[in-house]
Amino acid sequence: MQLTPRRRGRVSRALGLLTANLLAAAGAHAQSPTPTNEQGAGAPVDGGGVNDDTRSDIGLTRVDSAVLFYSEAGGRVKATEPVVSVALNSSSGDVLSIKLTADILTGATPNGAAPWSGSQTFITPARAPGSTTTVTNASGGSTIVTIPGTGVVSRQYVVAPNQLPVDAGFRDKRYALDLGYSALVNADTRLSGGASVSTERDYSSYSVTAGASRDFNHKNTTVSASLNLEYDLSKPFFGTPTPFTVMSADPKGPNQSKMVYSLVAGVTQVINRYWLAQLNYSVGWTNGYQTDPYRVLSLVDATSGAPVSYLYENRPRTRLRQSVYVGNKIALGPTVLDLSGRYYHDSWGISSVTGSIAERVPVVRGLYVEPEARYYHQNAANFFQNYLVNGQAIPTFASSDSRLGKFDALTVGAKVGLKVNHSGELYVQGEYYRQTGEAHPAGAPGGLGTQTLFTGVRATSILVGYSFAFY
């Protein structure tokens, strides 16, 4: 059969596209499905849909930037968090990455005390001794007071009846720097390392990480393992309180630290042409100060439930955490399904299950929408207590932090992404997160039985991001 010049052109273009696809496919392996060398493959591969893009970042510098606006209902925590990440991809496959994060936090955070039908006054050391600054909160103002005859400067705030006790003096800024380097040792082996620093006024964290991954089975299987070593320093504004002492304006103890050792080992497997799966096992050991220095428990009357005093909490100094995580990416026609689950257990007695699902659906050329949902359930730590009862023995450990209690959480949201030029993407994500738990646990004494003791979070967040690459 003779081909006309026009047909020869079509066949030639089709063959070129097929070749590019094959080269792209040959580069796809279990750990990173898109290491296509654009220069080697010739024309970039894009089947037309926004989900079909197989362009690689090899030889490019990619800039990821985003800002998160996070807000909790009830005047609680508000956060604005801008992030910029730069990844320098060499033509040999090595990657140097730098990430800068800022976190600006304001609002009110529960202080751990139980609500009560009468007003409650809380006294803490002043954050700035001698200051006359008054901080306003949802349930009244905070006032700086010098206790006569002692010279001790305290900050007092009053919580209205039947309101969740929160400390509105919560205000902080966090800055973090993450550095990472990943090198392709040979066609199948990659080594990586990194370091990060995070600092805020009352907390600092330093960590180093090292990892390796290797492809097997014609790049259908990738086995990886990473180690992380973290040192954290807790330096509360007024020191670390002695556990179960009465909340007061007295100066507290010295700064405290902890060490965290973590290992993540995993297997990534190409199941078939449409399905990529990941299985991870994680184990972490924490040793050191893990108590929240700002948090108290109400010591309540055994009959009426009225608060008698407020005692600083105490948590164990060691914690062993383990989890199994399963992630899946499945191509369903033009859409991509992201399905993951996790089981977690730790030595504090917390067990949790998490399941999440998201589906990336192309809408029109260059535009996709990705609805998502996440379900989370945890049971309580074995030392979680909503309050302590006056006259009963004080336990070795106790905390009323709702994050250590039993609750369910649901996240729903959606991301909309728009392809910009060849390598850029603009995306917006909105999410709603809600925790639900037992508001009126059985056995609460007296009037405490009518109070809402669950202090879970309802939060909305908006994330705006832009990512682009250049030579």
Partner: protein, 82 residues
């Protein structure tokens, strides 16, 4: 009686071994994709973590609001989160 039990255990054991061999054979033969059959896997949208920054945001939020963390990667948020 003992012989029957022994035979039953042997039968079950043999059946299990045969099943394991079949499963292993199936996994080695049925799982995976040839290099020329990975066009879909090569898509950016098929990466396990398409938006690392978004994942980091999620991990940080959940770390600061829930009692458990980690799994996909290291837990911990580098913060004394309130």
């Amino acid at each position: 009686m003992k012989n029957e039990m022994r035979e039953s255990l042997w039968t079950r054991g043999a059946a299990g071994a045969v099943g394991a061999v079949i499963l292993a054979t199936c996994l080695s033969g049925c799982v995976g994709a040839a290099a020329w059959d990975r066009d879909l896997l090569a898509r950016k949208s098929m990466q396990l973590n398409t938006h690392p920054i978004v994942t980091a945001y999620h991990d940080h939020i959940y770390f600061s609001k829930e009692g458990s963390s980690g799994g996909r990667t290291f837990d911990g948020g580098g913060c004394g989160c309130n």
